[in-house]
Symmetry: C2
Subunit: 361 residues, 2 copies
Amino acid sequence: MRTLNVALGERSYPIHIAKGLRHRADIVLPHLKTRRVALISNETVAPLYLADVRSALEAIGVGVTAIVLPDGEVYKDWATLNRIFDGLLEARCERSTTLIALGGGVIGDMVGFAAATFQRGVPFIQMPTTLLSQVDSSVGGKTAINHPLGKNMIGAFHQPRLVMVDIETLDTLPDRELSAGMAEVIKYGLIRDPDFFDWLEANMAALMARDADALADAIARSCANKAEVVAEDETEQGVRATLNLGHTFGHAIEAGMGYGSWLHGEAVAAGAMMAAELSRLRGWLDEAAVARIEAIHVAARLPVRGAALEVARYLELMAHDKKVEDGRLRLVLLQAIGRAVIDGASPPDLIEQAIRARLDG
Amino acid sequence: MRTLNVALGERSYPIHIAKGLRHRADIVLPHLKTRRVALISNETVAPLYLADVRSALEAIGVGVTAIVLPDGEVYKDWATLNRIFDGLLEARCERSTTLIALGGGVIGDMVGFAAATFQRGVPFIQMPTTLLSQVDSSVGGKTAINHPLGKNMIGAFHQPRLVMVDIETLDTLPDRELSAGMAEVIKYGLIRDPDFFDWLEANMAALMARDADALADAIARSCANKAEVVAEDETEQGVRATLNLGHTFGHAIEAGMGYGSWLHGEAVAAGAMMAAELSRLRGWLDEAAVARIEAIHVAARLPVRGAALEVARYLELMAHDKKVEDGRLRLVLLQAIGRAVIDGASPPDLIEQAIRARLDG
């Protein structure tokens, strides 16, 4: 078992990565306040793994209330969140009850937000079952639901007590979602870890073939990168914003096409290419670097062009992004592969040009 | 102007109390991140005071987005909260925009929760316009909305940057709401400030006659008590729970009768009498003390008996209270006037007896 630590003082917590962790209730137990949990999953993941987690917990005397939600980004909304609250209240869950999120990023974000706000805050544990949630959303305490006018617009910072990454849950992950998760893995190389980017170039074929050792290495390295950034800047006052490489462009794609049409990681990949293009136009990246960035995304079977929306629509949707400050769009750009910068000085026509250069069709 | 401080380290903030503070944008300005605010009120308060606050802010160059919500506890729900989010997003408010709550406890709690969760947290300022919100809910950072299965079930701890208490706004407060606010004033005397309780006995007639000096004294003393408790225990791990005297019984009344039928303060008053009765049954208060507690509530024109629900219904609704831990109801009781205790050891039959002794009709 690989174990990392997210260093946040009294809110520090471990990330465990290994095969078969869904059965290891003994690791969960010391993190519970009382022997009572609400285990929350979705209709895709629950039939595969919920019974394993539940029976392991019940075998050591933990009471389990299961709540199963519909699956998909379109359900990352208030109505579905409210089903969690209904379930918790109907089962008389208390302030000391621990919520466990068993699923991908949507489940993790929603359960985290439910934990942040149920009775003004209860503990929660992440058991991410997709590559994307294992390397990104389960670590760092960002929780949220979507609003019709913007993704993740309603949320809170609320750190989990524990993250359990069971590598075996990737066995059932569809290919398209494996690729989507790889977009966030590649991101760590791009923004702060050039050696990891080199390693990914050498190992992407093994990763896409689901080589277990390669996946475990990539997940651990990604979580280590994320944990370092989060420890440095928990509430995104500065460096944490670099984790949003490709996300402002990507959010425009997701919102413009309707949440769930593009997977988050797919939109981030296309968004990262727009950011790379803009970085080239700013004179920071050369064409060879942009070509390497495109090649690694292609190797991960990810889109390298954005959805065919009007450029004006991109700009309108991007203006709703949370990274806007005093009316000015702040974008994460690259000064080199492995070195990100937060930039508010790109002229609007250059931003338009970068989008146009990377539009589909 | 009287000024108190809520001592919470880097989240400390001042409470100002004076006549005419709604015009004092100069006091607000240093607390803003940018010259941009969303001023949120309800249909009762907005026609009286919103223009004053707005024009004072605009006169010093602060951009104001006004959002006016329907008035009443029944609107303390997700649908109304979502109108705040809609308004903020339609006006392209940003993470640096400060929300200002202009109204009573419902507006303060909802705007505070909107501020806690909009884009994962934005600053906010309280301008409470009712006695209840001035002495209680505007101070201390508890924010929430109601759920059909329980009051304030969904919320967060999120401290304001500033509390501005304009005494003049009490001029338009209905008598019934003045009384309801007085229930929380009396509470501070009961739980921790016996000298203040004596002062209230001597001055209740002046307070009910809306003597401005007496009201300013009572508000400042109440806020000082609240600030001390909050500074000691921000997230209610211990002593802060004593502020809930009468609230567990009171929540049962509010929920059982339908939110908004009884005012919160009215339910708290009846709940405090049930807690006093239970404290007598436990052997802590004598009959003379209970009589004094009843007399001060009567002098404040507050109910001293609970709504005529079945006792079983009280117990059922109380079991949903947030103060339940490991299945056991924890109640705030009185060991003397001025000394509260958190108690989980009252036998169920004694709790029933206390409720029954204080039932209406």
